[in-house]
Symmetry: C2
Subunit: 252 residues, 2 copies
């Protein structure tokens, strides 16, 4: 079972105070970029893996999705999601994504924001996603960028002149990283960009777009501290769709 850090009291309290928790999608600087990778939502059946407070689920319905299924491991987050939702076409369910199964050909879009880097068994889950997508199906997700997750000592190094660099090591050594973010000993799984891409290609997806996210000039003007994200990206966004050969093979 994945470490359920979001139900840790200290972590949850810290997380619940972040911009992205209080303001929802508008509080997540990478959301405009992630949204631009999404298809027209009208009529789609959508699955959100790691739905948290349900901000995306509610946005998806507002944008026209026919049905949204949000999964999360955290009871606290799901409780908050329930409180904020009154829409029978949004269903929240508690699930460990390491063991989740999805109904065959049950959805058109699988979405996930900053959840996959917690999973050891991502390839198993991606296999579930593959068989759950209907013809023309897509996956759009974000994870922490490998440059961000790789280091043994993640954190800016500032030289005598005040210049900041990000100390990369262990980039090709995939596996767990323990960091102190909101709580001590948060475990994430470091993977390279190549691993994410080759996993999707191997499962029969075609890569539509990859983004190593950085803030726009307007975002930096509004929040100057964001500028450091251009020095080393913290988020990786990926969009992929079933390729024709895969669809023929899976659904002859």
């Amino acid at each position: 079972m994945t470490q359920n850090i979001y139900d840790d009291d200290d972590f949850f309290e810290g997380y619940a105070r972040l911009g992205r928790s209080v303001e929802g999608l508008q509080g997540a600087a990478e959301w405009p970029a992630l949204r631009s990778l999404l298809p027209e939502m009208q009529g789609l059946k959508v699955v959100d893996l790691g739905c948290g407070f349900g901000w995306f689920c509610r946005w998806a319905r507002h944008a026209g999705a026919a049905q949204v299924l949000g999964f999360d491991l955290s009871e606290k987050m799901l409780a908050r999601a329930h409180e904020m939702t009154s829409d029978d076409a949004i269903v929240y369910a508690r699930a460990d994504l390491e063991h989740l199964t999805l109904q065959p050909q049950s959805c058109d879009l699988v979405y996930s924001s900053l959840a996959f880097h917690y999973l050891e068994g991502l390839e198993r889950l991606m296999g579930e996603v593959t068989q759950a997508l209907r013809p023309g199906g897509r996956i759009v997700f974000s994870v922490e960028h490998p440059i961000y997750t790789a280091p043994s000592a993640p954190g800016w190094v500032v030289d005598a002149a005040g210049h900041k660099t990000w100390p990369v090591d262990g980039y090709l050594a995939e596996g767990p990283r323990s960091t102190d973010w909101l709580a001590k000993g948060v475990i994430k799984q470091h993977r390279t960009i190549a691993t994410y891409i080759n996993m999707l290609v191997g499962l029969g997806f075609a890569i539509s777009h990859v983004e190593e996210w950085g803030p726009s000039d307007a975002q930096i003007a509004a929040l100057p501290s964001l500028a450091e994200e251009r020095e080393r990206p913290a988020f990786l966004l990926v969009a992929a769709h079933m390729n024709l050969e895969t669809e023929k093979r899976l659904r002859p």
Copy 2:
């Protein structure tokens, strides 16, 4: 015109002494990985962009390619390539890849090793490649890895305990980088992984494989200094093929 650094006396002399110059492909640690991305060569028409001493061109013919066309900007390298080649099916030509045009539907495989990061106009060249490939055509190339090219001060930082990290900054600031490697002021173009991938996708390629290259255990046992390449990769390898929709559009 691209900086013709390979015809600089100091640079050329240094380059000509590298393992990959003296021993050819066997002297390039990433070659086994790059080779594994190549298709069966029998009967193929092949273009090598930045062919240098022609090691790959000769390998391709040996592996069964019907014809190989190698382009390079360096007169010195091409002279050496000519000296080492006696095969009418291999043609070397001097060309600035910034301005190269390729005959429509003239080849099955475009290959390039560590050349594209010198080019400002890579997207123009990739457009040429797209129209030059025949149905089923592929491109396989390596470039310096963006983590390697990004820093304003590329070079290991060693702490008091002897631990090495690679100081990343400017990762999302694409454009020229001047470094001192074999000669002073060698100009390379830094691009992100996303840019390489999205450029290919935008031109109608499907990504087959991405590799952020690192040495095998056997390679490190044979040459321990290679171990640092696992800390931050120096090479990015990419293989892509024309997708079906592109082929239908270009060649209805």
